[in-house]
């Protein structure tokens, strides 16, 4: 009778069940991207990118493994390049910072490190993995390098924990390096790019000590914003043009959103670009990218035709008027231009975010970690 009573109530509920509702989310870090590369596969497959992004667009195979591949973009009307180290799908506004500890013997009279291996708490397998770190100096005295290998041990034993800013340091497989080069066709400019400095970290996973390699893209590449339950990394818009079917065209250069860039003798120093949110750009039928091979007359008229390769114009007929090219085109090559020319109604945020430090802008290498 008990069972009958339960069935009487529960049965109808179960009978009326709809299909399971499941929102998949996924994080591709350099481990996942390299695995896809080795399988000649793709990453970031989603509704917006049904065929995914070939891993070979993000990493270049080398004899010893792979290296980061620079992806082309335009920022503030100028050619730009960035690298992708992580892609988050359906993480909403949920990329946080995580703490990273540098052990120091003392901070006076100068900072003396115990080891160049940093201590972290969240590894690349975690949903909560983040390449955005809050750096802390843990004053532990003159101890053995492997005395403390967990953040818990440091919090319990350090005489001082001193905040030391934020850095963007993606965890990487040991054989993925940061030797950067401009991709075709911009490689013709012969502009050398800087190598991303490596770093090391250790993680205590329930007693199992794991060592990781990292890239160190340096400080000041992201800002935090306060949400209801804490601070998250603020994502800057990265615009990707949509194909006629509404999916993202990841074959052409993207447009990077606006941000603060400091300029000095060593080059441009973007103070943003750690985290991007992809925005889908819906284009009118008249719009399209410029490719010199299709418009040789226009190409030959431009002073630096490579600077326009892949750049979208509002009306592609301007490519046919070689007398007014390129100034006669309405270019869609900056956030301000997209918003002014197309309007917000043509720009749609996606659930895709990615790391993407800028390594090249205005035909100059961006100093990495300086």
């Amino acid at each position: 009778m008990v069972v009958a009573a339960l069935v009487a109530v529960v049965g109808p509920a179960l009978a009326g069940c709809d299909a399971r509702v499941r929102e998949e989310r996924k994080l591709w870090n350099l481990f996942g991207i390299q695995a896809a590369l080795n399988a000649n596969g793709v990453v970031a497959t989603s509704e917006e990118i049904p065929t995914g992004i070939p891993a070979s667009e993000l990493l270049t195979r080398t004899s010893s493994g792979a290296t980061l591949k620079v992806q082309r973009a335009f920022a503030e009307g100028a050619p730009a390049g960035f690298v992708t180290t992580e892609i988050w799908m359906n993480f909403y506004d949920a990329v946080w910072t995580q703490p990273l500890y540098a052990q120091v013997i003392d901070v006076v009279p100068q900072v003396t490190f115990v080891t160049d291996t940093r201590v972290i708490d969240v590894g690349p397998d975690s949903t909560f993995y983040s390449p955005f770190w809050q750096v802390n100096l843990a004053v532990v005295g003159d101890v053995a390098e492997d005395r403390y290998q967990s953040t818990t041990a440091l919090l319990n034993n350090a005489s001082q924990i001193i905040p030391a800013g934020e850095r963007t340091c993606p965890i990487r497989p040991d054989d993925v390096t940061g030797t950067l080069a401009l991709p075709a066709p911009w490689d013709a400019w012969n502009i050398p790019l800087q190598t991303v400095p490596p770093a090391k970290a250790v993680l205590d996973d329930e007693g199992t000590i794991e060592h990781f390699s990292l890239f160190d893209f340096g400080p000041d590449l992201f800002e935090l914003e306060v949400e209801e339950h804490g601070a998250i990394v603020e994502a800057t818009p990265m615009f990707v043009f949509a194909k006629p079917d509404g999916t993202l065209n990841t074959d052409e250069p993207r447009v990077l959103g606006a941000g603060e860039v400091a300029m000095d003798a060593s080059g441009p120093r973007p103070r943003y670009g750690g985290l991007w949110r992809l925005y889908k750009v819906f284009l009118p039928a008249s719009a399209g990218p410029f490719h010199g091979v299709d418009h040789p007359a226009a190409r030959d008229r431009a002073t630096d035709p490579l600077a326009y390769e892949g750049r979208f114009a509002l009306d592609v007929t301007c490519f046919n008027d070689d007398r007014s090219f390129p100034d006669g085109c309405v270019w869609l090559d900056s956030q301000a231009q997209l918003e002014a020319v197309l309007g917000d109604g043509h720009l749609e945020a996606t659930n895709i975010t990615q790391t993407g430090p800028i390594v090249f802008w205005q035909k100059q290498a961006v100093p990495v970690n300086q």
Partner: protein
Amino acid sequence: MTGRRAVATALAAFGAGCGGWLTAGVRAARAADAPSPVPALTDSAAAEVAPPTDETIALEEPATGATPQVAPLVVTGYVDVGFAKAQGNGTSFHPADNRSPLDYGVDPFAPAVNSRGEAASTDPGTDPNGYPRFVNGFLPRSAGIGGTPSFLLNTANVDFRYTSAEVPVLVFTRVQLVPRLENTGETTRLFLEQAFGRITPIKSAELAISVGKFDSVFGIEYLENQANFRIGITPSLLARYTTGTSIGVKAFYRYQFIPIASALSLNVSATNSGTFVEALQGSSRSLTGVPVVTARLGYELNLARLSVKIGASAERGPRNDQNDRGAMQTLLGADLRVFVAGLSLTGEYVKVDEEEGNPNKLTGTGTYTFTSDFYAHGFWAQAAYELPLPIPSFRVTPYARYEQRHGEFVTFAAIKVDRATAGLNVGIGDNLIVKGEYLINRELEGAPTVANNVVTSSVVWTW
């Protein structure tokens, strides 16, 4: 105070509650103390049936027959006033711990200050930039006192019980008022702890079917949910998984083997949210459309001087803090109670497994980002001894509890904590209980050490 005493107190409280403006009800209730169709073996056996609340009383009443002798409506209640002081800032958060989510790497429930399981504080504090540290909804309710000693009106509780004159039906509502001074100002939360109707359809059998919002059926700690029935003050570290009330249907059946002084019982429920406390999973609606099924099978041996109760519990169903019905929560538990010569030994083991669900987690305390793959197990064991005093209506019961909990948000943090609790329960008559206890919380593995011990007290006025 033993389980036997707890029930006695409950019954007395029921009567005492009628002593005021429901005087007629008292007389009627006493007149209704006729033998029940299937008498409980002992008072504590009645506690096995259900928490020693009005439900117990109802089960002992004639299911059908002559005109009821009790007043149809009985109103009782209690007021729980405490004074508590937690170490540190009243949380389990280390001031330099900036992991995200902060609440995943510690036990925010550890610095409990009252029988509601409220922590002294759940304020995550700020990071070095002055930003609030990120939490993701693994939080208890907060008393908001931080490390400052404070009086607290833990709970003002009112119970309404209506017994039908025509059919074996009982309707019960438990309303609680919880006043707190939040950072945004003074507020009093009105909480509907229970609201159900129950029918006992078969006169000759201990069978009860309840529909509404009712107590958990998992394990034994829910029996002490209310401050006036709890020997100590604070719930265990496992209570967050097993003691929550929820909405649905419940059936209880017990069969007694009188020649061997034994009984078997089965308590089964299908509810919106299972048995997690409301701070972790709300119960007022199902987010998945599929109920959570919970059951406990119990055996009890009731001799003249010895009572032994053992039980095994299980729970399975979609977690109700997200909307993917395929994201399941599974609980397993075992419990034991021994009552002998004034000594009460109780304990419980609980194992919890929650699958990762959809984002946009919804709990009783708000919306959060992710529902994470989670695993926990642990146990608690408690001893209480009611001193053999020659003073009637005066009871002194020292008690101690030890518990351990291992919790892991998979791929993020695994922690192990324990707690030792010692306290004293002094009962004066049927209307007053004074309790005081000290909690020693320790972080054994994975979580940074913090000062989060608690000294707390409670005065419970039952009416």
